[in-house]
Symmetry: C2
Subunit: 378 residues, 2 copies
Amino acid sequence: MGTGETVKLSITQENLNRALASVGRIVSNRTSLPVLSNILLTTDGNRLRLSATNLELGINYWIGSKIEQEGSLTVPSRLLAEFVNNLPHGNLELESNDTALTIRTPHYESTLNGIAADEFPPIPQVTSKPALSLDATILREALAQVVVAASLDEARPVLAGVYLYTEESVLYVVATDSYRLAEKQIALETDPSEPLSVIVPVRTMQELIRLLAEHDGEVELYRDDNQVMFRTGEIELTSRLIDGQFPNYRQIIPKQATTSFDIETTEFSKITKVASLFARESAGSLKLEIRAEGEVRLVSSDSEAGGSTATAECAVSGDDGEISLNARYLQDALAAMKSPAVTFAVSGKLSACVLSPFDPKNEAAEADYLHIIMPLRT
Amino acid sequence: MGTGETVKLSITQENLNRALASVGRIVSNRTSLPVLSNILLTTDGNRLRLSATNLELGINYWIGSKIEQEGSLTVPSRLLAEFVNNLPHGNLELESNDTALTIRTPHYESTLNGIAADEFPPIPQVTSKPALSLDATILREALAQVVVAASLDEARPVLAGVYLYTEESVLYVVATDSYRLAEKQIALETDPSEPLSVIVPVRTMQELIRLLAEHDGEVELYRDDNQVMFRTGEIELTSRLIDGQFPNYRQIIPKQATTSFDIETTEFSKITKVASLFARESAGSLKLEIRAEGEVRLVSSDSEAGGSTATAECAVSGDDGEISLNARYLQDALAAMKSPAVTFAVSGKLSACVLSPFDPKNEAAEADYLHIIMPLRT
């Protein structure tokens, strides 16, 4: 069973090394199925395909190669990646013998014991037409601003995902763990032929962010009933979808505010960081006091460690205000903001507060990003 | 009972931050005695003294300060260091109230709950005349080349230390875990008035390496019966000594070799790194084969993962040779070497091998460093 065909090919260390670094990230070394710790190598025309899967998420990565003999086998991902990473630049000769792979350079010759290719679970391909195509950098930045708000808890599966949907030539990218919510809008050049509505596991999105950081250009999204595939250049990332209905989140977005202020993002981050040091015992609770004369104060206290008041100047509209927030949620929101300044809006102690980017040079600009944090009841 | 005197002073964020980073490193947060997680702050003339101890090792660090009211108290090291690290540059006002310390800047005011100074264990001072004085950079580099060979196991206490002794205007710095040994010689400008011979815990030496990396100039060594103190600038590091007799290691240093080779250190490191990937199952065993025609080969094999042969060119003197070594010990020795090239000398499979720096521009130079590795019996 499973003596793969003999593979023989040559490939550059640089290309193989880069591909292994990307593909290897989704490989778990703590799996009960040994073949899942391996990478599948398959010749495909004049390319070598590297594949890895953790059963929820699969990746195919093609690199140019001089194929002398076609075939496939699997070898341990981590050992292969570490080995290739330590080889000098230049050509590598790969040749398999049954399930062992030998890699040769002028100064190195190593053999890695593998597992036959037919024990590797197939990575399903989604072969429909692309549902959406957009700039990789724009999608990556949008996802990076949103994933932090997703739930890490699988108790409510839809919240452990990122919701992507289109409406009137806009792609909405949304995540919420029910304590906070982030939404990014991306204007599409053309209306998609069919409206899109999928919930993708947050782990897939984190992996996509990393892949797109290394590969710009266009990214295409393909979907079928229970899968989604992202393709960019020579890489395909395939993932299961999360089944279920995303909460109707638009209803919780406050429409107006009794108090709001504009502040430099780094300044707000700094006082939040300091205040959070004294909020550990209180499960991260900070009191945010807004003074209409132009000041925001973060007050934290911890009966064991002590207490702290941190102050910053800001431009306030409306009344004095006060709200209690989780320090980490506020830090996460500010880190996701990306803009040099931010608007913070709130209507009393019990309403959700809304953070959005603020551009002092264009105060009328409509924000394409918002980050909502639910208050703590104190 | 423990109500310290009120302290009131001002100090710059930059100086306090730097001192806290150094002093905090020896503070354990997992101690059964809460006061040991704290830093002792004591006014001392026109300076503030910061002290920390883990009972084996103590540090005193003085910084300039404007003292308004003298006194002392202890506050949690980690919280204080994180807090001060996040404050803006400039002046900080410190004021205590009973055992609580308030720190103020124009935008921040925080209070840290502390513990009275009299609960802090005293850090004994060594007040003899200095036994030795030498350049901080030279001592740091010597220690960094030697500590890796010390034992991490306290079963034989003397091996968990670094042996410092003087003989004929030379300071010897030595460590061994009985599988390997490193010795550095430092030429002293003057013969010390009394010969020195101390064994200092390796943990102390690692801390001294870090401190000296931040502070050059002279370092003075003081000792009494069971303690040693290193002083550089405004810092004193005090440590217990290890009691006992260091092994008479000179007798195991081979006097000559049947085979030796000179090789570039980075080249040797690279092939060692690759070979070690395939030596995990064999507890790190590598076979080193020296070919008189000018080649060294590292052969490793692992019945589970596979096997590897890595080759490098080198200048060989003497016969062919072969020896089995622990891959990590060889990597550690090469990392400690610091010179662009190294001489590796061995006399058969069962003798210790000796690595020493090699200078192709001055082949006759006497090496002031040697690193010995005992062979594995295979």
